[in-house]
């Protein structure tokens, strides 16, 4: 399901414009990473797609409709904190979107078990969040988003609070899941290496007001495995994106595709 921004402007109250996107199309089945410094409107963009916030001007179309017209249950979201309900065990946490949609218990139980298995949580399905490590909590959060059978997957710095090793491993797992699922995904992150590793396309945002300052196609091969991080192509791309993030306004426009 494609996502199209048309003449979108967002400000809060009478405050300054925090995000301005004249035109942007996120194509179906691609993972778009959004990077940039704090306060550049990355999360605002995600909230607009999720209909958690409405544009002050313009519109966000999803699969041809305005964001509000999106049929229920077709989005999955993962936040930086795992936002697990502490009173529910892992299985019930994963089931949550299905339960809210009114799906019968046997069916949602089966779906939860399947998702838990896919993210490597099969053995801890009866535990409560207090009994899990930070990385495992994020896995539950991811499994919950996938259980919603999303056409669109929104990830708001999901691995930002994790240690580097866990983060890398979860990146690899998410990449493998993405290759099978092919959801239209928007991944907000502070980490350029994470963005390059996961994305089909990277949008670099600049602050004041938040705007797309760079748009880079990531043409690294798939499937992406850990050793991709050792390649020259990967390093070149990381260097290029990092430069853009540091200095968005002084960088020449690289266009959609450097080739």
């Amino acid at each position: 399901m494609a996502i199209v921004f048309k003449d979108v402007c967002k400000s809060y109250g009478s405050g300054p414009v925090v995000l301005r996107i004249p035109h942007l199309e996120l194509s179906e089945g691609a993972l778009t990473a959004v990077v940039g410094p704090s306060g550049c409107g990355k999360s605002t963009l995600l909230r607009l797609v999720a209909s958690l916030s409405r544009p002050t001007r313009g519109e966000v179309r999803i699969g041809g409709n305005g964001a509000r017209a999106e049929p229920p249950g077709r989005m999955g979201i993962v936040f930086q904190d795992a936002t697990l309900l502490p009173w529910l065990d892992v299985r019930r946490n994963i089931e949550l979107p299905l339960r809210l949609r009114g799906i019968a218990a046997p069916e949602r139980r089966e779906a939860a078990r399947e998702q838990a298995r896919r993210v490597g949580l099969g053995g801890v399905i009866d535990r409560h969040p207090a009994q899990l490590s930070g990385g495992m909590k994020m896995r539950v959060s991811l499994a919950r988003a996938l259980a919603a059978d999303p056409a669109i997957l929104l990830l708001d710095e999901p691995f930002g609070a994790l240690d580097a090793l866990t983060r890398d491993r979860l990146n690899e797992e998410l990449s493998a899941l993405q290759e099978r699922g092919r959801w239209t995904a928007v991944f907000v992150t502070h980490s350029v290496t994470e963005a390059v590793f996961l994305a089909d396309r990277i949008l670099v945002f600049s602050p004041g007001p938040g705007e797309v300052a760079g748009d880079i196609a990531v043409d690294l091969p798939r499937p992406r495995r850990a050793d991709l991080r050792e390649t020259d192509a990967f390093h070149r791309l990381v260097t290029r994106v990092s430069g853009m993030v540091r200095n968005p306004h002084n960088t020449p426009d690289w266009g959609d595709d450097p080739r």
């Binding site: 909230r47 999720a50 209909s51 958690l52 229920p72 249950g73 989005m75 999955g76 979201i77 936040f79 904190d81 936002t83 309900l85 502490p86 009173w87 065990d89 949550l96 979107p97 339960r99 809210l100 949609r101 409560h128 207090a130 009994q131 919603a148 929104l154």
Partner: protein, 263 residues
């Protein structure tokens, strides 16, 4: 404290009790205080033994009213909080009156309640309710209003209705707050019941509660028995708070750090 055996945990409070008892005896012996002002500990014990049956019956009467009042608070205080949290409109409309009810001194309301409900259990229960519902309501309300925004966003992304949001997110989230409100209410319940009995405790079945016994002992200048009544009330309060603490520990066992496996 966690993990230490009970015997070690009991030593310090027990030692402190001995120090207090020693000090008490010291004052009684050194100042030769008359028994009607400050009886010695053994005199309190003797009075407690002599009045044991009366005090036990009174504790049951007071405890029943306190328990009924607390149960009413636990239910009504909770529903009131949900109603207040349900919309800004209900909060604006009702909350000033909840505060108002809390600021009217109970000693003024008690005689009115006795006039309306008659003396005995109903009015004592009503006084207990008035004293205990506010901590339940205000704590629960705080819990309902402190649900993290990210969790509410999560529910909105999954198209949860307001009812689902309340039942599946905000109410469970407020549970620890509710239970801590209930713990405060539990410590107030026997106090409320005894205060109610000063006005309303002489009637009804079974010879009156602790509040009534206190009035009787005071009129007879039986200070040792007054102390014994005070200790009985303490015991009642401990039982109430302990019961709620146990309930809270059970209800929150999965949330708590203690649920984490240890290596």
């Amino acid at each position: 404290m966690k993990g230490r055996p009970l015997s070690t945990r009991a030593i310090l409070p027990a030692a402190f009790a001995l120090v207090v008892l020693g000090g008490w005896y010291g004052i009684v012996l050194a100042l030769e205080t008359p028994a009607y002002l400050l009886p010695a500990p053994h005199e309190v014990l003797a009075a407690g033994r002599a009045e044991g049956a009366a005090l036990a019956a009174a504790a049951i009467t007071t405890g029943s009213a306190a328990l009924l009042g607390l149960i009413l608070s636990a239910g009504a205080g909770f529903f009131l909080a949900v109603l207040l949290a349900a919309s800004p409109g209900t909060h604006r409309t009702l909350y000033p009156y909840v505060l108002l009810l809390q600021t009217v001194p109970v000693v003024i309301l008690t005689p009115i309640l006795v006039l309306w409900l008659g003396p005995g259990l109903p009015s004592v229960t009503a006084v207990t309710f008035l004293i205990t519902f506010f901590p339940v309501t205000s704590n629960t309300l705080e819990g309902l209003r402190s649900t993290p925004h990210s969790m509410i966003d999560l529910f909105r992304v999954y198209d949860a209705g307001r009812m689902q949001e309340m039942m599946r997110l905000r109410i469970p989230w407020a549970l620890p707050h509710y239970l801590s409100g209930l713990r405060i209410a539990a410590s107030l319940a026997p106090i409320g019941a005894i205060a109610g009995e000063f006005f309303a405790g002489s009637g009804g079945t079974g010879g009156g509660g602790l509040g009534y016994r206190v009035i009787v002992y005071f009129s007879r200048h039986e200070t040792a028995a007054l102390f014994a009544a005070g200790l009985t009330a303490c015991g009642l309060g401990f039982a109430f708070v302990g019961a709620v603490a146990l309930l809270a520990r059970f209800a929150l066992r999965h949330w708590h750090e203690s649920a984490k496996p240890r290596d």
